[in-house]
Symmetry: C2
Subunit: 160 residues, 2 copies
């Protein structure tokens, strides 16, 4: 399969994931976390389908176009392992949805990072929150959902 087709499948699955969770959490309070701002495409989509949610983004550095970059109060820059370790008081236990788009082409490195991100996320989440990722975050206490199993790209959706 070409890199072009794989990219289409990956983005289509991300879109289906965000749309699904946005519907599932409608009417429930809570903020949204985007772990891996990247080019800002998924944050832009989150803003469109969840216009009333506060969205907080995390990344090592900014490489999204300016219009897609959250303001300083909603942006955590630095290594995920550091920026996720302790939520600020106003965000502790407040996220109803966390999307961790953290996969790279280095599967071995990803397999080390993913469970760390999963463990760090726990203290940010509300009870019943949704977590979605392109890698298995391996948090025992979460229930893995099969809602995206028909999508062409493997994705992991959990409920806490």
């Amino acid at each position: 399969m070409s890199r072009l087709t794989r990219m289409i499948e990956r983005l289509s699955t991300q879109q289906a994931c965000i749309d699904h969770v946005a519907r599932a959490i409608a009417g429930q309070p809570g903020v949204v976390l985007e772990i891996g701002l990247g080019k800002g495409r998924t944050v832009d989509h989150m803003r469109e389908v969840m216009p009333d949610r506060e969205i907080y983004a995390f990344d090592g550095f900014v490489h999204a176009p300016p219009a897609a970059v959250p303001d300083d109060d909603h942006l955590f820059l630095g290594d995920f392992r550091e920026t996720l370790i302790t939520p600020p008081d106003h965000l502790r236990g407040q996220a109803i949805f966390a999307h961790a788009d953290i996969g790279s082409e280095d599967r071995d490195a990803d397999a080390v990072l993913a469970p760390i991100v999963g463990e760090r996320l726990v203290s940010w989440l509300r009870p019943g929150a949704f977590v979605a990722s392109d890698r298995d975050l391996k948090v025992q206490a979460w229930q893995r959902l099969s809602v995206l199993d028909g999508q062409p790209w493997q994705y992991f959706i959990y409920r806490t």
Copy 2:
């Protein structure tokens, strides 16, 4: 429409375009030109659907992953206006398909560049060649085809 949805539509249209032209030129001799290597996704797709074609790529600089970058004999680096101006003898009039993925977010700059790219391409093309672009290349002698008009993203396909 979100940046995520727009990207899915753009890439899906590129895929449909390449697949369409690959079928249309099957059995005809000629090389392929990719104007705007970018991340190398479309070149990778061209290799998959046209495995026996020689593919030549043009870009200002290399920003594709190494596996997607053509070897030095198939890569023209520099401003398109310069690298396209005079084909080397072995490529003059030899291209059966040229794909010019040159659009940026600056529509005014694109409107200046696109007809220059179109004009420069003429001497590279075989009679009956296909040209596809995300911008109107405005070459009077080419016939615009409507084959992708059902696609969600606007694309321009011409036959010389």
